[in-house]
């Protein structure tokens, strides 16, 4: 299925704009794209007229230019006619925002759209969806511009069965500095489904990670999705809702009782190294981490800290995620000890976590990071950076990033997220080192890489 025109259209028709009601979803979509996005937009309403000094066309086929994408926000009954018109006008695809299809019991109306579209090779997203946010080309999410929070352009494509959750995650992605290549609300997913979007984003050059919020798959659909995800060259993350445990229903075999819908879902994802995010916090951390690092790790974590308490909490978080924190040998400990400044040598501990104490200076963090990045016993380094230690400078984030650049071992930082510490955070992020705002968040980022390891 050719979806380039849906995500990166040059021209877009918004069908169903109102000449009298400025708050109509179609008007919201028309206005925001007209003012803020690259695609050229055309308004369509079957009565015709003029909106904000521009022609409103009666039909898509009346528009003098070739249209790549049609966004449809009309009453459900007339959508099949509009499809017909779009197909005749050789539009390349559609986003159907309109509700009133299978979700209200009108499955036949929805099926009529699917059969028209399939026959004509006319891909469409929806119906009953928020549509597509694909900067800088288009934004069909009918949320007023002043209230939507837009993450920066970045490498994560996010596909959601729920429009509300999509809008909410965009707020959170923006807050955490996770950039999006596209966000798609698939609504009733009548024609374009998760698998089609996985295939599209797998080859999309602007996407590095493909994340999904899934409520459920159709019959055997999970099997095809997993096969495609396992072959996807980019990390695939899935957050599943409806984690009802098995054994609630009366079933006659132990296997059916224990292998409930969710248990199977979760196990199959793990089997193929498709990353399951168990909640929205993991989803966010995983998207951030896997935007930076694409390869799986075994999950042997080296921890560098300036405070014993932080180190201990990080170890606890590692254990509860099933990550290991290997003890360093006496010889290794001696070697790091010799490489740090004399006053730290006497008071620090080097067993892993490496606790450099509050007396540490930039060079001590650099030496410890350099050492762990070369040790094969450790496959990821977590640095708990406390920006208020007197001996360190705000340049430390950028300096530590150079260690990663040199050695190539994944590095994850924890820095408290307040404006005052912005420079530390930027030092890492500009070098594509993920930065968490909590200790657990940093450990979750390492876990994201481990879950890519098939098990």
């Amino acid at each position: 299925m050719e979806l380039e025109a849906v995500f990166k259209p040059k021209t877009m028709a918004v069908i169903g704009v109102s000449l009298t009601h400025g708050g109509h979803p179609a008007n919201v979509v028309y206005n925001k794209n007209n003012l803020r996005h690259e695609a050229e937009v055309f308004a369509v309403n079957h009565r015709g007229g003029v909106l904000q000094g521009k022609t409103v066309y009666k039909r898509v086929s009346d528009i003098p230019e070739e249209i790549d994408l049609a966004v449809i926000a009309t009453r459900a009954e007339i959508v099949p006619d509009i499809f017909q018109d779009c197909i005749e006008a050789r539009v390349n695809g559609a986003v159907v925002i309109s509700g009133g299809f299978a979700e209200t019991g009108r499955g036949e109306l929805q099926e009529s759209l699917v059969s028209l579209a399939k026959k004509a090779g006319f891909p469409f997203i929806g119906p009953n969806c928020l549509g597509v946010y694909s900067p800088p080309y288009i934004d069909t999410l009918f949320i007023p511009s002043e209230r939507i929070v837009r993450p920066d352009k970045g490498g994560v494509a996010f596909v959601s069965q729920s429009g509300g959750l999509l809008a909410d995650q965009m707020v959170k992605f923006a807050g955490e500095g996770v950039g999006l290549s596209s966000a798609v609300s698939i609504g009733n997913k009548a024609m374009i489904r998760e698998l089609d979007l996985l295939k599209y984003f797998a080859q999309d050059k602007e996407t590095d990670v493909v994340a999904f919020y899934v409520e459920g798959f159709g019959r055997d659909e999970g099997r095809d999705f997993i096969a495609a995800a396992a072959h996807c060259p980019k990390p695939v993350i899935v957050l599943k809702s409806g984690k009802t445990i098995g054994g609630k229903r009366a079933v006659s075999s132990h296997t059916a009782s224990m292998a409930g819908d969710y248990e199977v879902f979760s196990a199959v994802l793990a089997q193929y190294g498709v990353v399951e995010a168990r909640n929205e916090f993991e989803l966010l951390s995983f998207c951030e981490a896997l935007s930076c690092y694409h390869g799986p790790i075994q999950g042997r974590i080296g921890i560098i800290t300036g405070s014993g308490g932080h180190g201990a909490l990080a170890v606890d978080a590692c254990f509860s995620q099933g990550l290991s924190v290997p003890l360093l040998s006496e010889r290794d400990q001696d070697e790091i000890r010799r490489s740090v400044s004399p006053r730290v040598q006497a008071i620090a501990s080097f067993a892993n976590p490496i606790d450099l104490t509050g007396s540490a200076v930039d060079e001590d963090f650099m030496a410890a990071a350099q050492f762990l990045s070369k040790k094969k016993e450790v496959d990821c380094v977590v640095i708990l950076l406390l920006p208020y230690l007197p001996g360190i400078t705000s340049d430390l984030g950028a300096r530590l990033s150079q260690v990663y650049r040199r050695e190539g071992k994944p590095l994850i930082a924890y820095v408290p997220h307040v404006e005052r510490y912005r420079m530390f955070i930027e030092g890492f992020e500009l070098n594509r080192i993920p930065v968490a705002h909590s200790i657990e968040g940093a450990v979750d980022m390492a876990e994201a890489m481990r879950r890519q390891q098939p098990c």
Partner: protein, 225 residues
Amino acid sequence: MLNKEIKEIISASKDRGWVLEPDAKRLFSIAGLDIPHFTRVNTAEDAIRFAKKIGYPVVCKVVSPLVIHKSERDGVAVGIMSDEEVTETFERFSGTDGFAGMLVEETLSGIELIVGAKIDYQFGPIIILGIGGVGVEIYRDIAMRMAPLAETDVELMVKCLRAHELLEGYRGSKPVNLKELGRLLARFSGLVMDLGEMIESIDLNPVICSSTKCVVADARIILKE
């Protein structure tokens, strides 16, 4: 491809919705899985004759189309040491609803595992491996994978179990034969792929595994309605 006898067993059990234990065992034996020496008897005398032939202790189980979970209906007796006990057990089982004979089989030793299959709505045929026995749903210690499996999948599945050390040789006991277990899983998964939509789920519970072999000591096949 399924052979003729397997198809016959399935179609003969269709109305009941599940396959009786002796038929299920026959089916798995055709598919290349190891099953215990056993026979189905209708008299205590036949039971004693077979028990003497294979040697005590033996296991006796009730056969009844009305009893799907035998142990819940007191329909399994293990460690039977004498002719008298066989007779006693036979008489007790005779009172079971729908009594249709008794199985007498050899006593096996090893770790009790469960190997199972389910046709999942979203993902199709799924295979499980876990700690088996009567307490299987209490421990809920299982690993699951999408079928078909390769023989090498067994190592990853065992590693996923909380009780994996039990299989790897715990406190001086011999480890279970992973090669045999892997062979059993791969054959079982191949059979499940062939049965496909005919079944809803299967329990092989217990599969008794030792350092030399893995034997399907009991089997339950739930057919699709």
